[in-house]
């Protein structure tokens, strides 16, 4: 951003400088022309005066009467004043050479004037005799030198104009060069800026793409991880359940059978002994019950023994027995050979939903509905409990349900409002090609 501002400033600055330079050059040119004209005018006046003076000198040679001499002297004086005025006001410019020439012209002119004044002071005869020689020998060379000098001045004047033109041309060339430089600089910086921006944008884009890929990958990993976690949990539960059932449960069961046989063989004459064995049997029965409940919690063997719907009905009754909530289970068209992961997912979902309804919602009634139609199986657990805001509070249990449903490619939703009960819904697409697991 600041780079763009800098570029703009650069272009603005060089443009303003160029405009200023042009203005200055224009003024300079005007001044030079003005000076040139002034000087040309002055030189023109000077030449005219010098020629008139020359004429007067010629006349002074042949003037006869005193009136004529006086008029001539007057004229000479006027011309002399004119010339001095021109010389005094001549703007010589910066060069000393022209000033020197001017001084020389002035000196020569003064000498010429002195000669003429001298000539006029002579008598008419004397003038007739001597003047032509004097004019020829002294005044004419002076005059021609003056003309020569003023020619020099004219040339110098021309030279000055030429010089000023040259200076202007040089300045213009330099302005052009500096403008060209500015434009080139601006173009180059613009190009660099564009390149830099493009590189920056490309890098940003690459980073964004990389980051996106990373997010996608980590999300997939997370999903796989949680799927594996659910699998691992289920496998672990099944193993522990089997262990409990097979080892602990059966050993205790055998113990119970033994107690029973012992009771049957004990003589009725030993009530004391019978009572004691009865107590031991009761303890063993409680243990069997505890182990059985634990095993069932870990892995509902109903799923294996009976299939999904009877297992759900069993669970509903079990919850009804052990809580204040009555559970009603309905089902329609549910096939008996659902894959194991479907059975487990639905069973756990219903288990969790009922658990929440009893534990958190204090519901009095709950309805479980499972129905299957072409390629899909739908589960719904509705209760009349307290309800909650599903957007705000999602426990681990709900996340677990959602996870299981998602893993099977299904859709999961919770409808609940405070005071209006809760409905948990899941819809699972059935795999077609797969036989019963």
């Amino acid at each position: 951003m600041s780079a763009f501002l800098g570029l703009f400033g650069l272009m603005l600055g060089s443009g303003l400088a160029a405009v200023g330079d042009l203005d200055r050059m224009h003024a300079q040119e005007q001044a030079a022309r003005h000076e040139f004209l002034q000087r040309t005018q002055a030189l023109g006046g000077l030449c005219l005066s010098i020629e008139l003076f020359g004429d007067s000198v010629q006349q002074s040679v042949s003037v006869q009467d005193d009136d004529g001499v006086a008029a001539l002297r007057d004229r000479l004086d006027r011309l002399q004043g004119d010339i001095q005025l021109v010389l005094g006001s001549y703007n010589s410019g910066p060069h000393d050479r022209e000033l020197v020439t001017l001084k020389v012209i002035q000196t020569l002119f003064f000498r010429q004037r002195d000669l003429v004044v001298q000539m006029l002071s002579w008598s008419a005869d004397e003038r007739r005799r001597r003047a032509p020689l004097l004019v020829h020998r002294e005044v004419a060379p002076l005059l021609s030198e003056i003309l020569q000098r003023s020619d020099q001045l004219r040339l110098a004047n021309d030279q000055q104009l030429h010089d000023a033109d040259q200076t202007l041309l040089a300045q213009f060339a330099s302005l052009q060069a500096s403008l060209t430089r500015s434009i080139a600089l601006a173009l180059a910086s613009g190009l660099i800026l564009i390149l830099a921006s493009m590189i920056y944008i490309l890098r940003l884009e690459r980073q964004t793409r990389l980051r996106y890929a990373e997010v996608v990958r980590s999300r997939r990993e997370l999903e796989q991880l949680s799927a594996r976690l659910v699998d691992a949990q289920e496998t672990e539960r099944r193993n522990i359940s089997r262990e409990l059932h097979d080892e602990v449960g059966q050993t205790l069961g055998a113990l119970l059978v033994d107690f029973g046989r012992l009771l049957a063989t004990l003589p009725a004459s030993a009530p004391h002994l019978r009572e004691q064995v009865d107590k031991m049997k009761a303890v063993a029965e409680r243990s069997v019950q505890a182990v059985r409940n634990l095993a069932l919690l870990l892995r509902p063997s109903m799923l294996d023994d009976l299939g999904l719907v009877p297992a759900l009905e069993w669970q509903g009754r079990e919850v009804s027995r052990n809580s204040q909530m009555e559970v009603d289970v309905e089902s329609a068209n549910v096939s008996e050979d659902l894959p194991d992961d479907y059975k487990v997912a639905i069973y756990r979902l219903v288990q969790e939903a009922l658990h929440n309804a009893v534990r958190h919602a204090a519901a009095r009634n709950a309805r479980v509905r499972v129905e299957q139609d072409a390629g899909r199986i739908r589960v719904e657990v509705a209760d009349d409990g307290r309800g909650f805001d599903p957007a705000r509070s999602r426990g681990v249990g709900i996340l677990g349900m959602e996870e299981r449903v998602k893993r099977l490619g299904g859709a999961f939703s919770i409808d609940s409002k405070a005071g209006q009960g809760t409905t948990v819904r899941a819809e699972l697409p059935l795999r077609r090609e797969e036989p019963a697991a």
């Binding site: 069961g253 055998a254 109903m302 009754r317």
Partner: protein, 216 residues
């Protein structure tokens, strides 16, 4: 009195050993074979043709219910006593639908096994007392909570008689003989009572009777 030939099927040796001892103590029973899973039980039943098969409900490979169904299909003369750890209606109904006559809880197997084997052999139903208790409790609780009424009150005295006889495993012909009415009348009573009680099959009738304590 002939000696009853009994097949035992349970996947746990300890339990099976206990059951064998119980059966062996009966003068009128003998164990002819022991199986460790459902598939084995079906195969042995087919070759040994026992009078009564005692099947554990939760066996690996092929569970007791499925084994019961297959045995009853191929050997109608062999009766089945189901052993289970569960007193829940789902299990009982499943076992009855599969053709089992008796349903014993493992906890009390040693006390009731002999009686159950004999009852089954005679074609009668037998249930562990605890099973009837649990079924009744479930039923009463539901009535209480949902405010429903006991449909048993809707039955006429004759229908109640027929209900009990059906639940005991009697055929319509046997019932007509006992009650001295025509088979057609028995069928009518049977249909009426099943409709009133909302029962769809004989196993459900048996379950209902157990629940109500009409039979045990």
């Amino acid at each position: 009195m002939r000696t009853l030939r009994v097949l035992l099927a349970d996947d746990h040796n300890l339990i099976r050993a206990g059951l064998r001892l119980v059966v062996a103590q009966q003068p009128d029973c003998m164990v002819v074979g022991e199986a460790g899973n459902g598939r084995e039980a079906v195969a042995m039943a087919n070759s040994l043709k026992p009078d009564v098969a005692v099947l554990d409900i939760g066996m690996p490979d092929l569970n007791g219910i499925e084994a019961c169904r297959q045995i009853r299909e191929s050997l109608p003369g062999t009766q089945v006593v189901m052993l289970s750890m569960h007193s829940d209606e789902s299990y009982v109904l499943r076992a009855l639908k599969a053709g089992a006559r008796a349903y014993l809880l493992k906890d009390s197997a040693e006390a009731d096994l002999a009686r159950a084997i004999r009852a089954a052999w005679e074609g009668k139903s037998f249930f562990s007392p605890a099973v009837g208790k649990v079924l009744l409790e479930d039923y009463m609780r539901k009535l209480q909570r949902t405010g429903g009424e006991d449909s048993y009150e809707l039955l006429s005295p004759r229908e109640r008689e027929v209900l009990q006889l059906v639940a005991e495993g009697k055929s319509s012909k046997e019932i007509s003989n006992i009650l001295n009415v025509s088979v057609y009348t028995v069928e009518t009573h049977r249909a009426n009572l099943m409709q009133k009680l909302n029962l769809k099959s004989v196993p459900e009738v048996i379950l209902y009777a157990v629940r109500k304590g009409i039979i045990s």
